[in-house]
Point group: C2
Amino acid sequence: MSGAEIHIVQDWGMSDLSGLKALTFDVFGTTVDWCSGVARESEAMLGGLGHKLDWVAFANRWRREYHPAMEEVRSGRRDYVVMDQLHREMLDVALAEFGVEGLSGEQKDHLALGWRRLDPWPDVVAGMTRLRQGFTVAALSNGNIALVNAMSKRSGIPWDVILGADFVRTYKPMPALYDSAPKLLMLEPSEIMMVACHVWDVDNAAKRGFRTAYVARPEEYGVGSPYNAPAAGTYDVQVASFVELAEVLGA
Amino acid sequence: MSGAEIHIVQDWGMSDLSGLKALTFDVFGTTVDWCSGVARESEAMLGGLGHKLDWVAFANRWRREYHPAMEEVRSGRRDYVVMDQLHREMLDVALAEFGVEGLSGEQKDHLALGWRRLDPWPDVVAGMTRLRQGFTVAALSNGNIALVNAMSKRSGIPWDVILGADFVRTYKPMPALYDSAPKLLMLEPSEIMMVACHVWDVDNAAKRGFRTAYVARPEEYGVGSPYNAPAAGTYDVQVASFVELAEVLGA
């Protein structure tokens, strides 16, 4: 049966839009508001135990361990572990720095899993519901499948497919993670648009041949935090919400 | 940060049902009616070219290459290739046996991709929509992600997660494919119920620790084809539809 290599034409009767077939979304920051969610979860747990912290600062300190923790895996110094596990370990650093002691293992686990209880930005469900009429909408996250699924079921984020770190067992911005999306969706990279609020993520997707959408999330690190948008025209699309992205893409 | 191994408690505020958290579904036969769909697609293509075949027989002959084609991969004699590609190769065997010649490569590709255009059984979307309120509903198919996604977008099958052969690069009933589901969903096998209409599939999932649901699909091979249901009580749940499964599981 050799020689019969299939050529795929995706066809489910929806709009083509110059060949764009799928959108891959970053999750933390782009799709969900981790800062206010982690601040809320931290206050609920730690405030309830009598601690009085700057909760937004605590959330940001926790998140600051994100890239160093992933770098252990990306560098090969450590075997892949899921993001839930990294969140748990990163928490210990933040707690120590803020002088919070005496939490039980169960309390720490519950708080670390607060990253599964983050809310989407207000435009996300409405925008993605429109976008998925015309395109495959896929998570392409450093979050593991179980984490992204739990979060999405809680708040109704309507993914078609959850891709990400579990497939290649490393983390963005490693090329293998971007490359897994066209491979698994059986598309050309140029048929996929990476949607993210972090220039490092969009830039690295572009290097792998993706089209690019930058979504401004000026409150990612908290209301009133410094924010610098990329210059107009840096990416294929630059929008302020998923609803605006749906408008621009005609979905 | 060693020693801080996270313990996961799945918690999105839905029913527990004695610990059952997720349902993994077989796709071809269990979720979609491949026989009538492939017969319809074959008639549309080949009948349009003047061929007069027993379309149900043709569909069954095509499908009969399914396990032999997968066995090349399961045995390790061949590297993993996606099910779309196997469908394309299996088609050549069926066409030759039915004496159909002269199709172009594009026509064969379109027909092979007819397996992406199968319809769900009438109970599937309604039943799964109820089930996903209480459980994670995941495809655990030998179909590749792109295939299952295309099919599901076309007909509105509301998966939370698409798992399957792409993760482990082999095919059911290899244990690695079943084992990938609890690993990726971060659940115990006993927290997952395998839902399938093939006893070999349900039985092999049970060997990996899954709970089991047998769904009767007496018309899988065509209306009026022979059908033997397993004896009552063989599996945890035995139902005639996904809606009945939702009833039984209280979803």
